[in-house]
Subunit: 367 residues, 2 copies
DNA sequence: CTGAAAGCGCTTACAG
DNA sequence: CTGAAAGCGCTTACAG
């Protein structure tokens, strides 16, 4: 009880060499069954747990994966669940690096690099911060980026197909008869929202509708600003594609305060499918991101980078959206590690858009 | 670039021994300034980063702290922020063990113990699961429990003062003139809710009101069940202390659907102060848990356990609520590590209780 | 101020 | 099937 027993103690107590103990620890063949059992008994008696640190040093491999995250709320927990499962199955553990308290990524990236504890890094980054990404990719540490779709990025990344998701949402509204549809940017500068806007424009284009710039609205987070602009319009939209669910919920709340009914007076589609933990007055129709799968795919990509023999749990390339030109070139499987993967979103239809019937009425009111 | 340089390479390139390189790495005195500078230059040229794993092995200390969490949503991110700051300042890193995907703590606790990577563990546990806590505390791994107030627990723990918080909430309602006040259990079996109920009873007792068992309601999560029971009462409550914020928000939503106004028809107080990420129709008056501080206090407690010389950033014992009998005995500071600490909550008054005036009306309606 | 040597707790050819 | 030895990349008395 005084000190933790080491492999040397076990060897002594079992009357064998350290090598043999090591062999039973690692389940290698070529150990006499009787000897093995004797050693195992001693191990149990002594409550011996081998020192991982020493194992890693001797073997020359780390079994730690860094997870660099801007924050933990919203959909992050679900992504982490996806990551954690795979990490655990493969005998790795997660080191959590949160940049929540820091002004920028700089200091955290430095810490990841100088502590040099991890075999690889999973990083979720919202903004383009070229210098840090470059620092990272140059460091030689294998990195997979989560949820940032920058095609020109050297590092491999995994993300939802933002363009396709917004297209889905917009098509849904079009199919319900809407023709005057607004797009709400939750913030002006994040790349993902521009991708979503792009998808919205694509869907309108398919329907022969020219996107009206007046209908592209930028919010400051409260939904109040957008709503004022809409109310001031001579031809207000009958439906809105909102850049993310938080803004969608805020918007619905604000609409309610002003006596507008959803979906009767205006239809709303969100993006993310982050269900509030408590009841809400209106159930949001929204684009569901496959967060769990994004997490899974990202770690498996990283594990392939670390170990070429690693077998992913599923063929992500087949599952992915073939929107990336690089993708084609790498479909032989070998180039997988340097790949960019976009996972397909789905539309979750609830009741913030109503049925088509509503909207023919709504539209009549407009004309 | 081929292989990562080691301390041996640096020594060779700088024409010194490994010992000397190690000395400059660790900023020890007794190194010739010129030699030091030369070595530092080589280190930079080679982009040398010492291997943490080897350092820890040689020094015999781990600088990793395990964080065992049931889930990541709700207030966990805030607790983690508190933990992360302290961990970082002290040169530790966090290993994240999530039990989210697991049926119980058993397998995760085993993993923490057998991988044996961490110097100590921070564990947040909701339910009483004696066997795992005992396994943990017997293992010899220093552990601090977060947010479980079980006075008989061997392990040290940090939590909010649940009794005091509910007392605060109930007194607030009493001061506004309410006399018929309900308590809502979000779930029947979690110890914290029983503590909160206890605080509610205390406050009523102080006001000379006998707690009416009819008014203690158990919910199944949706708030619908409670609401039906309330509507069926001959003398319904004019105010409700809800066991946590999620249930409070759900309740407000359900009340709205039935045409009851908050706070005009009924006053609501929550517990936690978990603000929804988007606008809500009513701003909840609630008991704020000092999550950030709980996280800070818990790590600092753990760090004191690991290193008797560790100086906490603040005197937590002074800040704490002296409700624990052990607390008295340990106020000399020496026994701090084996201590149980309850941090004081505060009342955040918003508008779900209204002002006193409202309630005199409300009460008149009752009589 | 500096280096040679032993050591941290494990693994892994190598020889038997 | 097993053990002696060298090694993983660092630290730390010890001697000089």
């Amino acid at each position: 009880m005084a000190k933790k027993p080491t492999i040397r103690d076990i060897a002594r107590l079992a009357g064998v060499s350290k090598s043999t103990v090591s062999r039973v620890l690692n389940n290698s063949a070529n150990v006499d069954p009787f000897t093995r059992e004797r050693i195992q008994r001693v191990i149990e008696e002594q409550d011996f747990v081998p020192d991982r640190t020493a194992m890693h040093l001797a073997r020359g491999d780390r079994r730690l994966i860094g997870m660099l995250l801007p924050a933990l709320w919203s959909f992050m927990p679900e992504i982490i669940r996806g990551i954690a499962g795979v990490v655990e199955e493969n005998g790795y553990e997660i080191i959590l690096y949160s940049s929540a308290g820091h002004k920028d990524f700089r200091s955290v990236v430095d810490r990841v690099l100088t502590t040099n504890l991890t075999a690889g890094l999973l990083a979720s980054i919202h903004t383009h911060s070229p210098q840090h990404l470059i620092t990272l990719s140059r460091s030689g540490l294998p990195v997979v980026i989560i949820n940032l779709t920058a095609l020109r990025l050297d590092s491999p990344w995994v993300s939802v197909d933002n363009v396709g998701g917004a297209r889905l949402a917009t098509r849904h509204l079009l199919s319900l008869g809407h023709e005057r549809i607004s797009f709400l940017f939750p913030s002006p500068d994040l790349p993902c929202f521009h991708d979503r806007y792009h998808g919205y424009c694509q869907a309108l284009g398919e329907a022969g509708i020219e996107p009206d710039p007046i209908l592209a609205l930028y919010d400051d987070g409260s939904a109040v600003k957008c709503l004022r602009e809409i109310q001031a319009m001579s031809a207000p939209p009958t439906a809105i594609v909102v850049g993310n669910d938080y803004l969608a919920y805020s918007l619905i709340m604000e609409l309610g305060k002003r006596g507008w009914r959803v979906p009767e007076d205006i239809a709303i589609v969100g993006f993310d499918d982050v269900i509030p933990p408590y009841q809400s007055s209106i159930e949001l129709t929204t684009v569901r991101q496959p967060f769990y799968e994004i997490g899974q795919c990202a770690v498996e990509m990283l594990l392939s980078l670390l170990d070429p023999c690693f077998k992913p749990s599923r063929n992500w390339l087949e599952f992915a959206v073939p929107s990336d030109p690089d993708w084609q070139a790498s479909s032989d499987g070998r180039a997988w590690p340097s790949c960019h993967i976009q996972l397909p979103p789905t539309l979750t239809v609830r009741n913030s858009c109503g049925s088509g019937r509503h909207y023919s009425r709504s539209i009549q009111r407009e004309t």
